[in-house]
Structures are given as C-alpha cells and as structure tokens.
C-alpha cells in the first residue's frame, strides 16, 4: 500500500497534526472527550454541532448499529453557548466547532461566541433528520451560500459540510465555494430508516435517520470525486473511512484530509491504528496522490 510521509498539514486554513480528523457528533459533546480523542491520535477534532439554543435531541432510540454501518437520529442535542466553556481548555488545539442554525443570522450568532477561541468552523448544512436545520436548508444552493458567507466573513476558516441527499452535490459545493468556504466536507449521513418487524414501527425515535459507516464509503468517495471535478477549494472526505487504505482512496478521489466517525465504534484507537499504517518516513507526499484518480481511468 502507498504510505504518506509525515509532515505539516494545513487544510482550508486550519493547521492539523495529521490528516485524520474526528467527525462531528461522534464523542464530541464534551471538552474532555475531545481532548481524549486528540490524545488518541486524531490530527484535529470537529465538535458536536452547536446551535443557537440548547436542544435535548430526539427521543430514543437515537442510534442503531447495523452490520456495516450506523443509523442515527440524534436530533442535534447540544448545550449551545455553554459549549464555549466546555472547550476553553482546548484553545490552542486543532478544534473545529461544528455549527448549525436555521438561517445565516443563527450561524453567525453561534460563530461569534467562538471567535478567537477555535481553529475553525464547520457548518452543518447536512444533517438529514432535524426539521429546519441541516439538510432541510442545505439542499438549497442560495441558502448554503448565504449561511457560508455569514460565517466566513469573520475571517475564521469556515468549512461547509454537505449532504449526499441531493440530486447534484456539486451545485451545493460550488455555492459553499462562492460563499467563501475554506474547505468542503463530504459527506454527512445518507437519509435512511429501519423498521422493527417485531414492533411494526421504525426503530429510531425520529423514524428517519442517517446512515454512516462502511455502507456509505463508496457513496462518499463518489461525492468527493464529483466535487473535485467542479470545485477549487480543498475537500475533506468523510463517510465510512475505517482503514489507511480508505484514507488513500479518499485522497485519490480528491480529499486533502479525512474525517472519521463511525469507525470509532469498532475501536476508539482507530486514529492511532490508521496512522501506524498510513505514515512512513519513506512514504510519498500527499500531493502526489490527492486527486490522482481523475483523468486516469484511461491510464
């Protein structure tokens, strides 16, 4: 397998310790959990999505582990501005605050709380199971552009996380780019549902949820590949990454870095494990492989 030479990593204006970030919403609710994941080898962490008001989230069940993935409908539970104190001890670390809101003003408001205190923002315009938030607004390019601009104008690196539940993800990626995004993160979960045949009703409290994990890897690779053909800003691959080979594959599709979420279910040491396989002193530079799968299908 190809391996990568370790070196400084800066993606979309954020300096990272390596190419592997913790994805939003996985073990990202408390400062100490984020600190633990950093100490376990993540090159950066994205927090749980924070909104303008505290939310308890959907009634349970919120998560179901499937054979090859995870189905969740957390419903964006978050402590809102109490989170500022929560991550204060991590001020110097590569922490990206994920933000959700129902309109540009809400995004800007939440971002303002964290100005000067975090490395960057990731806008959740993509969670598929929260009325009025996430993909409810993230499927409209003009809203995506406006929300992005409302935050990026702060000058703080602003990443935009996209939903795959659209007809054309590149239209949304280009909207984020126009809005001043420093990077695009693809993808959030794929809208999905399971029904308990024993109960005769959906297994998630919210009925609809989002699918993540290995099951969506090939969908995420496709989205990254499509975005790389149309957008100029860096792309961060997310969705089903669980091995170093998956990281390389995402990079070949066009990702500069990856986020990892569900794979932490199998082993919370996933970052260390992948790093051990991914990096070696005699490896190549990431630039040699990022996007290399484009225009090469005809060798």
């Amino acid at each position: 397998m190809v391996s990568i030479r370790p070196g400084p990593v800066t993606i979309g204006g954020v300096a990272l310790d390596n190419h592997l970030l913790l994805a939003a919403g996985i073990l990202g609710t408390t400062g100490s959990s984020l600190a633990r994941i950093l100490s376990l080898g993540a090159g950066g962490v994205v927090t749980k999505s924070i909104g303008p008001l505290p939310k308890d989230g959907h009634a349970g069940p919120c998560v179901v582990v499937l054979e090859n993935g995870v189905l969740n409908a957390m419903g964006l539970p978050n402590p809102s501005n109490a989170f500022v104190d929560e991550i204060a001890p991590l001020a110097k670390k590569p922490v990206i605050v994920s933000i959700f809101g129902g309109n540009p003003d809400e995004f800007a408001l939440v971002a303002s709380w964290f100005e000067g205190k975090v490395a960057g923002f990731e806008l959740n315009l993509s969670c598929p199971h929260a009325d009025g938030y996430g993909s409810a607004i993230g499927t409209d390019p003009s809203i995506v552009e406006a929300c992005t601009r409302a935050v990026s104008r702060s000058g703080i690196p602003t990443w935009v996380k996209l939903t795959p539940n659209v007809t054309d993800i590149t239209a949304i990626g280009k909207a984020a780019e126009r809005g001043g995004a420093g990077a695009i993160v693809a993808i959030n979960t794929v809208k999905a549902m399971r029904i308990s045949t024993a109960m005769g009703c959906p297994v998630l409290g919210n009925r609809y949820g989002g699918l993540s994990g290995s099951a969506v890897f090939s969908i995420a690779v496709r989205c990254v590949y499509e975005l790389y053909e149309e957008c100029k800003i860096p792309i961060i691959g997310c969705g089903g990454v669980s091995t170093a080979d998956n990281v390389i594959e995402m990079m070949m599709a066009g990702a500069c870095a990856v986020e990892i979420g569900s794979a932490a279910y199998n082993d919370i040491k996933v970052f260390e494990i992948i790093k051990a396989d991914l990096y070696s002193k005699d490896g190549i530079t990431p630039e040699e492989i990022i996007g290399c799968a484009h225009g090469r299908s005809a060798v």
């Binding site: 919403g25 996985i26 073990l27 990202g28 609710t29 408390t30 400062g31 100490s32 959990s33 984020l34 600190a35 633990r36 994941i37 749980k48 505290p54 939310k55 308890d56 989230g57 009634a59 349970g60 069940p61 919120c62 998560v63 179901v64 582990v65 499937l66 054979e67 995870v70 969740n72 957390m74 539970p77 978050n78 402590p79 809102s80 109490a82 989170f83 929560e86 399971r194 308990s196 024993a198 109960m199 009703c201 297994v203 409290g205 979420g261 569900s262 932490a264 279910y265 919370i268």
Partner: protein
C-alpha cells in the same frame, strides 16, 4: 456480526418491589455479567439504560417520562432490548457490596454468583428497601434506613464503620451518586480506593460509545462503553459526585 437491532421481548409479568420500583420479567434471557446494562426501548416513548437484575429482568425506579410510561406496561406488552453493554463488576472471592435504593438491581445478580460476603443495603424507609429477601438468600445482608424503620438508623456508609474492610478483596457499589461519593470519600480516607468499584449512571443516548453524551470529566471516558463500572481510584479526581450532564450536554450539579 449482523445488525444489532433491538431484540423484541414480551413482558411476562411485572412485580411491584417497592412503591416506586418494579421488576419487569421478559420472555427471554440475555447472557450478561452483573453490572452490565441494556438499552430498553419503550416504543413510541424513548430508549433508556437499565441494569439487568437477572438474565431476564430489569428493575426500574419511577424517575421521569420514560419510566412513568414503562410503569403503564404490563404482561404481554413488548419492549425492545439492545445489549447487554458495558463492562460489569470485577468478580472476586470476598466482595463487600454496597447498595442504595434501586442500586441493588445490578448487585443482586453479583450476590447470586456467590462472591459477595456482605451486602450493605440502604434506602429511605423500610418499604423502599429493594430485594431484601432475595439478597438474604444468598449473602449476609446489613440494613440501614434513613428513617430507621428497619436496620440501622442512618446511611449505608455508616454501616461501613462496623466492618473490618480489610477482610474484603473488593468493594462494589451502586446507588444514588451522593451516596456513592460518600462511600468513595470514606474508602479514600482508609486508603483502599483501589479496591473499590462504582457503577456510574450518566445520561445515555447511544449506549455503544459513539455519541459522547455519557463521557465523564476529566478523562473523557465513556460510561456506556468504558464503564459503567469504574474503579474508585479513577473516579477520585473526577466529576463524580459533583456534576453530570443533561440531554443537551449542559452540566448540572448533583
């Protein structure tokens, strides 16, 4: 591995244990270690963590919305069960178990495994004492009630003073967090925190270690996956006994 959808169980019967506590008996068993918990899906309501009080029972204290709803369930009604999850208590030869209120639920199966020498059982009043008879059958039970209606008048922690703690190889504790913190303080003074284990309760959403709602400060350990049973030593310099988090992730004092 397969999909880990909730297993459907039917309630065979419901047993009133105390005015606020009921045991729900399922039509099927789950292999488990005492201290492990399951996520109980109350369809249309919520999903909440509950220790297994035996391989086919949970013992539930009425606490809020979900438990209130559960108390309307009777024989024939269906629940969904995911799990068991978490680590359970370390086994030992001579365990001292300390139970407060519904905290007796995960300790009963430990006592039934014959490794508990003595069990200290506490509650506010006599009628709120859980599993007195069942525990009596398998271990040496000492009782304390807040109002003195049975056993010693006072807290279970006070019972500890009458014991030679050196005689036990482990101390396993489950109960309200204030009571557990009192035990922790006591064992710390005696320098035996490393022999103790506490079953920690935190607000849980996923139960499998990914959502982050149950993490404790400052270690960031997940109660659902790294616990719920933690050594007293680990808990000494922690949020334990001081604060926890609610569904939104905000801190609330204990």
């Amino acid at each position: 591995m397969g999909d880990q959808l909730s297993e459907p169980v039917s309630i065979l019967r419901v047993k009133k244990e105390t005015p606020l506590i009921r045991t729900f008996v399922f039509d099927r068993s789950f292999a488990f270690s005492p201290g492990q918990f399951v996520m109980v899906w109350i369809p249309g309501v919520d999903e909440i963590p509950m220790a297994l009080s035996s391989e086919k029972t949970i013992t539930v204290q009425k606490a809020g919305d979900a438990t209130n709803a559960l108390f309307t369930f009777g024989a024939g009604d269906k629940l969904g069960i995911r799990g068991p999850f978490g680590n359970g208590f370390t086994k030992g030869d001579k365990i001292l178990a300390i139970a407060g209120g519904v905290g007796a639920a995960p300790l009963l199966p430990l006592a039934r495994e014959d490794c508990v020498m003595t069990l200290l059982l506490g509650a506010r009043t006599e009628e709120e004492l859980l599993f007195v008879d069942q525990l009596d059958e398998c271990t040496d039970v000492m009782i304390a009630t807040d109002d003195g209606s049975l056993g010693m008048h006072g807290y279970v922690t006070d019972l500890m003073d009458d014991l030679n703690l050196g005689a036990y190889d482990r101390i396993s504790v489950c109960g309200p967090e204030v009571m557990m913190r009192a035990v922790l303080t006591r064992v710390e003074e005696k320098g035996i925190a490393h022999k103790t284990e506490f079953s920690v309760h935190r607000y849980m959403k996923c139960g499998v270690g990914i959502c982050g709602s149950c993490c404790i400060d400052p270690s960031g350990l997940r109660v659902c996956r790294d616990g719920p049973v933690f050594s007293g030593e680990m808990l000494l310099k922690s949020e334990f006994g001081h604060y926890m988090r609610d569904a939104s992730g905000r801190k609330k004092n204990i």
